[in-house]
Symmetry: C4
Subunit: 194 residues, 4 copies
């Protein structure tokens, strides 16, 4: 029961984050397609952030699927993750408004990095409670994607000052990398003798 | 359990979409009925979008009622549908602000079309998982409404440049067509031997 | 299960309505108590609307407590009620911005009236499905409060043009009248042999 | 069942409160780190409020964990608590916009105090229903934290006019004090013979 409420609250926060990002897409005052053109970077940064937040929701879903009980540490690790996700709309709006400039792109990378770190802390908090032989610990295994993503963000942050478009390409690559949700957990669950 | 969380998340996103559209109805600075008049197209486009989003929620509800388990494909097909629904407030605001002009009306048609396509993809993803003999596959049958709506949107998009008011009439007609929720699924469920 | 989702969706919409009303309370640019004074009518209209929406949530909660299954008619009657509730933030902002003027107060009365009518339609839709001997039908009995409130709103609308403050007093009186949630349903449930 | 819906509604409202506070972090028009500097007090007040609302959600979660049935009094005590929490975004924005001035800091203290009072009323309403020998009543015991916090807010309000930064230090101290969620209830639940 405790877990259900943590999931419901996280779903609520993530649903709002994903939806308020679209508020940056302000309806232009003119009724022409030309008036839509300046909105294109805003739209693209919205799509990128939408997919990122979608991936987090998806993985959050898998993470708690294998969790039974929730400790105080997990509650706060989860609120910590939601905090960094709540800064996505700000960074998305800043990238969009400045047509993919260096500083907003680097800031976006910092927030991506911190969200990745927070997700790892949450994962560890859950494994700490379940024990190293748990379903989740075995399912994650070496977790190369979870380790590669923060490294790529760390590389991306300085590179953003040289070429923000390249860095947005890196972000898109990380998205593609994560697009397929974590089948390892799914597989382990299927194998589990109930 | 997985399904419940997908439903809860979708409910959250749709609830926010339906509610932030009303934020476009900005309280006028003057306290007279005359000050309400410029809000009329904003109000009418809000009503139209409210009913559209309501229909999607309704059908989403029926679609998942007959679904037991949720695959990664269904999760992403659902996020894809929510993405297009999340653009409704933008298109609604644009129509309202420009008093039903051609380009915003055509843009609205594109978003309606894409939401219809996304709904069809979601339906197919669910049937693909359940098999062609499933309850949902049988319930949908020929699905003429699901096929007619995108065709009408495709017609509406170019016509919007000739007569935006006519096209808003087409949108209203499609709404009326869908107003009665999909009784086919309801009937099939009633017939199902439990 | 169907009912749970209708409740969850309604909870989401009502939670957002209640929360976006507070967005009208814009932080003043100056850091003095004097800067708070112009916000007083905005604050008072927020309190009034908060209590109204709270009453609706409360009664909605009781109404569906005694409901088992949800028909298509109930789904749409519920969306119709949520539509009128979604206009509360608009009317609240308009009253607050114009320091309790006549036209916004009358408009608020129209929205209150329509929400009351929508609530009655929803109640009838539920009773129609459950039959006249149902728990809800017996619990409601003569329903004098449900009949008195729309009458008071109907009186309030024209009077608003003579004295908006008196009419806001009437709204406050109706709030007090409804403040105690519908114990009839609670009592009938307690009496019900399980 | 009743309790679940109260929890879901509260989760929704708290999720929205926590998320709309971030809307005050408006993306600057310039793409430089210098443009972020004026946002620092806004960001710090967001972090403080985020943690406060997180603590309230956490404690709300524990409070209702030990509750079985929900009376009309509990419903309204809960709506009363949510009302004061809904004013957090306003006070947070006001502190942030004025770079930690006296009057906004004192106002924040008033809202913190009222939320604390509302939480105590809710706690009493639940204990009143459960009886003085209930799990919750025993778990709370002397409740020194629940009594110390309002006292510290009462001290903070006048001191804000002398030194707003000191008072924000007091708020941060209260946060640290509450950071560890109420283990008393957790412990009592563990001890409870099921």
């Amino acid at each position: 029961m405790e877990k259900n409420r943590l999931e419901a609250f996280s779903d609520g926060v993530i649903a709002i984050i994903i939806t308020i990002m679209v508020l940056e897409l302000k309806a232009p005052h003119e009724a022409s397609f030309a008036a839509l053109r300046p909105l294109l970077p805003v739209f693209l940064s919205y799509v990128l952030s939408y997919v990122y937040v979608g991936i987090y929701w998806n993985n959050h879903h898998h993470l708690f699927h294998s969790t039974r009980r929730v400790s105080a540490g997990i509650l706060w690790a989860n609120l910590h993750l939601l905090f960094w996700l709540s800064l996505f709309p700000f960074a998305t709006a800043w990238i969009g408004e400045n047509h993919v400039a260096s500083t907003p792109t680097a800031t976006y990378g910092v927030i991506l990095l911190m969200a990745g770190v927070a997700y790892n802390i949450l994962q560890r908090a859950i494994i700490a409670q379940q024990g190293p032989d748990s379903l989740l610990a075995r399912a994650l295994g070496s977790d190369w994607k979870g380790k590669l993503s923060p490294v790529m963000c760390l590389i991306a942050i300085p590179v953003a000052f040289a070429s923000p478009w390249l860095v947005n390409g890196i972000y898109t690559f990380v998205v593609v990398l994560w697009f397929i949700p974590d089948r390892r957990i799914e597989r382990a669950i299927v194998k589990r003798p109930e």
